[in-house]
């Protein structure tokens, strides 16, 4: 293998690793402060807590109707949004 290919391989692996770490940091931020329109369900938590966003407002969602894996009705716990919202079925299915 030529030295050019070795250098290219090392660069490709390093840059891809950097990309993955950056994405993980962004994803962690998303879970805490973004989430776009999705509700990020974390099933390993006992109360099935999900985090999501409505507009630019970060919300924490506790799934009350936990009969199946689809988030159907949620209670908004934090942020300025109080009360109940109906989350689109597809929000939990990413």
């Amino acid at each position: 293998m030529s030295i050019v290919r070795v250098v290219l391989s090392l660069a490709a692996v390093s840059f891809t690793a950097i990309g993955i770490i950056q994405s993980a940091e962004l994803s962690a931020l998303d879970v805490q402060s973004s989430g776009i329109r999705a509700a990020y369900a974390l099933p390993n938590l006992p109360e099935r807590i999900a985090v999501g966003i409505v507009g630019s407002q970060v919300i924490t969602i506790i799934i009350e109707n936990g009969r199946d894996t689809i988030i159907q009705e949620t209670a908004v716990e934090s942020g300025s949004l109080q009360g109940r919202i109906l989350v689109n079925q597809s929000a939990g299915s990413f």
């Binding site: 290219l8 891809t16 950056q22 993980a24 099933p43 079925q89 299915s93």
Partner: protein
Amino acid sequence: MLIVTRWLGQARLSKTHSKIALMCIIAGVLYGLAGVGVILLMTLMSFLSVGRDSPVSHGISVVESSRLGGVAIGILFCAYIIGLTLLSPYTPGVIRLERELYLWLAILACALLGFAEDLKPDFLTPVLRLAAKFVVLGSLLWAWPELVPAKLGVIGVDALLQFPLLAWALTAVFCVGFINAFNMADGANGLVPGIAAVVCTVFFMEYGRPADGILMFICTMFLVFNVISGWFFLGDTGSYGLGAIILGYGLNGVAAGDFSIWFMVALLAYPCLDFVGSVVRRVSVGQSPFAADNGHLHNHLHQRLKIALRSKVMANSFTGLLISGCTSGLVLAGYAGGWRAANSGDWVWVFVFEVAMYVMGMWLFAQRANKSAGVV
């Protein structure tokens, strides 16, 4: 971009080095080091001796290339998903949801079928391949029956969908047909990759799922690589795998009411129209509907562009970009610009426009071909 191209030319780099440099610059501007890493990885994979494709065997390509583009996309997607799972609180759907597991198993099975074809062409006979896809996708629909649409708003079809077994069979046949159509349309640089990048962008804009974000990123990078270099094709792994992903999430979106059927049809108009058009064209002249030919719209358009453009790779890439841009790109522009919501039925008019463009294009090219051949 022109300045960069001129600078690369003045630096007396070889054509190969210039292309790599240009792709890295575009990737760096779009996605930073992560983008450059993907381009370098694809460059290395395109040099591998396995999965080579000679110019004569692939559509309108004129350079020797690799069919392992789908494998590269699969490796990168898995690397990012595993990385996110290990390094962030993200939990992939396949771990949390049983039905997502079924979907991704079906996607994996379709991609593996394609992979076998990429490594050894005609590894399975066409009938066996169709049967295998039917079994895989039929099993998925059986395990996740909500994917079978209950109503499409099309008179006649809706009546048939009321019978569960018939609805399942019709949807399974449609799924197999769609994946074949996606594979059949993969005949020009940037055509299917462009459509896939647009669809993943729409999915990401609609749902914000990390997996869609990763797919959008990788498909965009693949599009840049495919269009500029022409060294890498999706291959059967890519067209079957990406086709199955788009099919699964598209059906789920329609079933959930997030996308209207007409939005999805308009978004994926070219593979569907090309498939139906090709089958009708071949059957009308007594050929097998699955026999390969050069009568596709992208073949005709490429013939015209080849005369107008000096570079053969550019003619190939312009063909793909023009078609994907005027179909899926148009829908993305309408969706991003807020013309209509994705679940609106008004997208039917965009589809009607696409059908009219396709029919007109085919008619015009047929007229020109007849004139050149001296047929009155």
